[in-house]
């Protein structure tokens, strides 16, 4: 019988975390003294670079650091006269929201298209000399812009309307690098923390700031052989569908923090108390599939990574593995 377990038990309470310590990583969604909160991703978007499209137009912009420039290509809709595509120069600004826990993050932008090329008439139409788009991109997916457009009329006055632009192609991480952080503390000193960096195909170090990632159960080996079904009172190790807000911490724009993996101290003690020494090592393995939000703030998700999570326990050690990165230590 494990002495620590007995000692804690005599105090009348034994603490334990979860068999599958996949903590819900909704940083920024903590409760407040005033009561329940709406769990929003508070992280602003700081980089809108890429191609933004609507019917007949594609904005190719480099938009970060507060400013934007690029081009917008407009299909000349005066077909069937085979008029050439009109290309405007784009300049503008973007203003990320201030990061405030429990308030949704976003970015406002204002893009001005000017200097159309060609500027001459075709099929009895001439390109508008300029166009202004003012709008907002909400976070989590960072791929949908909505707002108002306006442009001058030749005889004076202004023509206005609304627009929706969708980022195409979307930014999907080409990889996710798992980094070992070490073991947590207190009750969680047998729980390992892992910190992830999303890799962009473009090489951008901040394009994923404001995105939201979620863990799901993928396909592959899925077992927990520490648990004795129907006997032990600990649920099977499982994925919790936890979510994390990418870029919550400054300086870690393409990172999400942290994935907690392992049994906590009391759970470790419980298994060591209940199971025979011959039962060790025992462990659990789960297929963790990571998905990222797409199609607007309340849209769908797409998978970008899948790998196993492994937790293993002996009578003297604990270890946790995420995507091939292992942290282990003797405990107690």
């Amino acid at each position: 019988m494990n002495l620590l377990f007995l000692k804690a038990a005599r105090l009348g309470i034994v603490l334990s975390v979860c068999a599958a310590f996949q903590a819900n990583g909704q940083i920024g969604c903590q409760g407040t003294p005033s009561g329940p909160v709406v769990c929003n991703d508070p992280v602003p978007i700081v980089n809108l670079s890429g191609a933004w499209a609507a019917t007949g137009e594609v904005w190719n912009v480099s938009a970060s650091g507060g400013s934007a420039f690029g081009t917008v290509s407009v299909q000349n809709p005066a077909a069937p006269f085979s008029c050439p595509t009109i290309v405007y120069s784009v300049s503008g600004t973007l203003s990320p929201s201030f990061q405030t826990d429990n308030l949704p993050g976003f970015v406002n932008f204002s893009w001005n298209a000017s200097n159309p090329n060609p500027a001459g008439a075709c099929a009895n139409f001439t390109p508008a000399p300029s166009m202004n788009y003012t709008g907002t991109v909400a976070n989590k997916s960072n791929d949908r812009a909505t707002g108002n457009w306006s442009r001058p009329l030749p005889g004076g006055g202004t023509l206005t309307g609304t627009f929706t632009l969708n980022k195409n192609p979307r930014d999907i991480p080409t990889n996710e690098i798992t980094n070992a952080v070490g073991f947590s503390s207190g009750l969680l000193e047998t729980v390992a923390q892992f910190r992830q960096q999303l890799v962009a195909g473009s090489g951008s170090s901040d394009i994923f700031k404001g995105r939201q990632v979620t863990e799901t159960t993928g396909t592959g080996p899925n077992f927990d052989n520490c648990r004795v079904e129907g006997v032990t009172s600990v649920p099977r190790y499982a994925i919790n569908n936890a979510r994390w807000n990418v870029g919550y911490y400054g300086g870690l724009e393409n990172w999400w923090v942290d994935d907690y993996i392992g049994w906590n101290t009391t759970q470790v003690n419980y298994y060591r108390t209940v199971l025979t020494p011959q039962s060790f090592p025992c462990g659990a393995q789960l297929p963790q599939a990571m998905v990222i939000a797409v199609d607007g703030s309340f849209g769908s998700t797409t998978q970008y990574k899948a790998h196993p999570i492994i937790v293993q326990l002996t009578m003297t050690t604990v270890s946790s593995t995420r995507d091939g990165v292992t942290q282990a230590k003797p405990w107690p």
């Binding site: 309470i13 603490l15 903590q30 166009m131 609304t162 209940v274």
Partner: protein, 275 residues
């Protein structure tokens, strides 16, 4: 016993509409489980089908009639000097559907408990509604003298938690500790899917059940959470496991709209040539 033996068989019931002749489809499921605590996996299945939280408060099995020896060689034969025993195994077979109405769900849960009694399984339970959730609460258990005795669930105990900003698991631990002290029964805090998150929380003479429900809401208002308060006969303690239900599937963003052209049907990017 593998909980995978819970057999969930979906069939389709077709109800014909009246005036419109529209057809409404309702899924029917059958829980068929043989387990030491069959209500646990049965309620897991029903909760999943309902898509809403169903909490479970076990009974403290103590009479030899309600227990049986552990046969799995991975479990120690003796723990704390006592032979290892677990609640007596039993089978539950219940049909239910994925009704969205609370009364229908209560009816299904009561059918489950009726089947439990019919099978002669240990203890007795009732369905309660509180905090916008459903609860299956232990009410009776066979005492050492062989007679059924009434129970007051530990989660009905009123607790105090001083105001503080703590992680969710620390807060759950304080609630469990208060229950342990007041109820004379150990409550072990098992699975808690919110560990690193911090909440400001206090409770004053609030039942543990209500305090936990409020903590759920404050920690994760956008996700439902339920608990399984299981009596672990191996360590003679309750194990309080929290379970976050899968997030609701978000509806498709309806903000996608075709950008409007000018009223005359000409692209907003073009001006007619003035002649």
């Amino acid at each position: 016993m593998n909980r995978g033996q819970v057999v969930l068989q979906w069939t389709l019931l077709i109800f014909s509409g009246l005036a419109s002749s529209a057809l409404l489809a309702q899924k029917q499921a059958i829980v068929n489980v043989t387990e030491h605590r069959p209500l646990w996996p049965a309620l897991d299945q029903m909760e999943q089908a309902f898509g809403s939280a169903v909490n479970y408060e076990d009974v403290p099995y103590e009479h030899p009639d309600d227990l049986e020896a552990v046969t799995d060689p991975r479990v120690r034969a003796y723990i704390g000097g006592r032979p290892s025993r677990v609640p007596r195994k039993g089978t539950l077979v219940v049909a239910f559907d994925d009704s969205t109405s609370e009364p229908a769900r209560v009816t299904h849960l009561n059918s489950l408990l009726a089947a439990y009694r019919q099978a002669g399984l240990p203890g007795d339970f009732r369905v309660e509604i509180a905090n916008g959730m459903l609860y299956v609460v232990g009410t009776k258990v066979k005492g050492a003298d062989g007679r059924l005795r009434d129970l007051i669930s530990p989660m009905s105990i009123r607790v105090d938690v001083t105001f503080g900003r703590r992680t969710v698991i620390e807060t759950v631990a304080l609630i469990a500790e208060a229950v342990s002290k007041a109820g004379g029964v150990r409550v072990l805090v098992g699975q808690v899917p919110f560990a690193p998150e911090v909440v400001s929380f206090e409770a004053r003479r609030e039942t543990a059940r209500d305090a936990i429900a409020r903590l759920f809401r404050e920690a994760h208002p956008e996700r439902q959470t339920s608990y399984r308060m299981l009596f672990d006969t191996l360590v003679s303690s309750y194990m309080l496991n929290l379970n976050a239900l899968p997030p609701n599937v978000p509806s498709t963003d309806s903000s996608v709209r075709v950008p409007p052209d000018q009223p005359n049907g000409v692209s907003k990017w073009l001006n007619p040539v003035q002649r």
